[in-house]
């Protein structure tokens, strides 16, 4: 018991204290700036607004006025679908690009050229092809997820240690066994890195995409509240987006740790 107490005491001073101090300083600074700028709501005003907002997160008042919960869920759904489709195509493609040199040389100029393009630039193409806002937003997420997925998976396959391949060669394993027993488990940590980067980018991009496409979603909500000049809600949205992003990252890091050797 005594040991446990000192352990938690150590945790308090070493980890918790600086974190709390940092947040307090941040809020203090924000309050100070808010005092000098009358248009920017301070921490207390924002907190009151947040309490009210989250007291009823799932109300429905017509298509353009829904609770913040619904907005968050529909953004997460778009990210989920766009990411899922990108994984479905990007991971197998990454395996093939990594395994076959010819395919690597074929795809690498295209990937290198398209990767630095902001995924939002693809939004008009999505609108043109799908003729609807929602699939266009999913399309943007798909584009932002596909590159890290292909690149990281291919890198994992390429960096497969020669030792493991030698084992496969001396045992003369079938291609299927090589894939299930060597290639896939060896590449899994890289695939998970790709997933983490993809989700991170997707969550960044969804806010901007929804601002442009409208409908329901956290990005549109921010834009809507800007039109209503409800700045407290915009600040709340920033925190919410940040916290969900952090949560997604934590889950994926935990997942990656479980599958690293």
């Amino acid at each position: 018991m005594a040991i446990k107490l000192t352990m938690s005491g150590k945790f308090m001073t070493a980890t918790l204290l600086p974190q709390v101090l940092g947040i307090a300083l941040f809020i203090g600074l924000w309050g100070l700036i808010a005092l000098t700028s009358p248009n920017l709501p301070g921490p207390i005003k924002t907190w009151d607004s947040a309490v009210e907002l989250f007291s009823n997160p799932f109300y429905e008042n017509g298509p353009n006025d829904q609770g913040i919960g619904w907005n968050i869920l529909s953004s997460l759904q778009r990210v989920g679908i766009g990411f899922g489709l990108a994984a479905l195509i990007g991971i197998p493609l990454g395996f093939m690009v990594g395994r076959f040199d010819f395919l690597d040389k074929m795809t690498s100029p295209i990937v290198s050229m398209l990767r630095p393009v902001s995924p939002l630039a693809w939004l008009p193409i999505g609108l043109l092809v799908f003729k609807a806002a929602n699939p266009a937003a999913i399309w943007v997420i798909f584009i932002s997820c596909i590159w890290p997925m292909i690149i990281n998976t291919a890198m994992g396959v390429r960096q497969l240690p020669q030792d493991y391949l030698n084992v496969a060669r001396v045992l003369k394993l079938s291609e299927w066994k090589i894939f299930t027993k060597i290639l896939f488990p060896a590449t899994l940590p890289f695939v998970l890195t790709g997933i983490r980067l993809s989700i991170g980018t997707a969550w960044l991009v969804i806010v901007a995409a929804e601002m442009l496409t409208g409908g329901i979603g956290i990005g549109f909500w921010v834009w809507d509240e800007w039109n209503n000049l409800n700045v407290e809600h915009i600040i709340i949205a920033i925190f919410v987006v940040g916290m969900i992003g952090l949560l997604l990252e934590k889950i994926l890091v935990w997942l990656a740790k479980r599958f690293s050797y």
């Binding site: 030698n166 084992v167 045992l171 003369k172 394993l173 066994k177 027993k181 060597i182």
Partner: protein
């Protein structure tokens, strides 16, 4: 051809690599006949191509010219009839000790035996190297010496015609190495294995081998001399320490390595 006499065979083997500086001849004029049940060590300075020769026997490399046979068949690529023990164990980290060996057992006997028999074989291989207690452990949970024993068990579990070992104990500390050498002697005696082992350790070579193949320095390395180790089996390292014939053989190898073919300072 009398396969009993020439179980593993290399004839006029030459190995050259294409490098940026042009052709590099690693091995030339290699002729070696290994009988069934013989324990051969390849010894030489680093860079003499002894590992290259082992990889040729394994089929991981193909000779530039010349012929190589194993059990009367030409070596064309790697195969489970030749068990390889790698220098750095090369266990798959996501499989348990059992899983690593089972992968090999399944590959060789999967078509002819029941799952229960495959499991039995795997457990027997683990028992052979005294690792029954580590069956469900992952490679990162066991010591370097234990990993190497799993590697040996994996190679032996396939019941290969020949066991090829590439400096299997090179990365281990002296005490663990001695322990594993003793164990290997017992295993080889029990299984009547044919072994080709690469080493740079003179004591290891004399202790374990029936014949020591001494290689000249590269480039274009070849077999400089062979030495029959006519010490009686089973051998005991303590008894050999005071055996004059052992010391004579040992000094023969040392003479070859440090007088006739001393490595010029790299």
């Amino acid at each position: 051809m009398n396969t009993l006499q020439k179980y593993v065979l290399a004839e006029n083997v030459r190995m050259s690599f294409d490098t940026k500086q042009g052709k590099f001849v690693a091995l030339e004029n290699i002729n070696l006949r290994i009988s069934k049940g013989e324990f051969i060590t390849l010894i030489g300075h680093s860079g003499c191509g002894k590992s290259t020769l082992l990889n040729l026997f394994a089929g991981l490399l193909a000779p530039s010219s010349g012929f190589m046979f194993c059990a009367g068949r030409e070596i064309a690529g790697p195969g489970p009839d030749r068990g390889v023990v790698f220098q750095n164990h090369s266990l798959l980290p996501w499989l348990t000790c059992f899983g690593n060996i089972h992968l090999a057992v399944e590959r060789v006997f999967g078509a002819t035996e029941s799952p229960l028999q495959l499991k039995q074989r795997t457990l027997e291989a683990l028992a052979l190297v005294h690792l029954s207690h580590a069956t469900d452990k992952y490679p990162h949970e066991i010591s370097g010496g234990m990993k190497q024993r799993v590697g040996i068990a994996r190679a032996l579990s396939m019941q290969p015609n020949v066991l090829l070992m590439d400096e299997p104990f090179g990365a281990l500390d002296a005490l663990t190495r001695a322990h594993l050498q003793d164990e290997l002697m017992k295993i080889v005696a029990a299984t009547q294995s044919t072994v080709v082992m690469v080493t740079h350790d003179v004591d290891e070579a004399v202790l374990l081998s029936d014949r020591i193949v001494m290689m000249t320095n590269g480039p274009a390395a070849t077999i400089g001399s062979t030495l029959d180790v006519d010490l009686p089996q089973p051998r005991d390292r303590m008894a050999l320490a005071s055996n004059t014939h052992y010391h004579l053989l040992r000094s023969e190898v040392l003479k070859f390595l440090y007088q006739k073919h001393a490595k010029t300072a790299a």
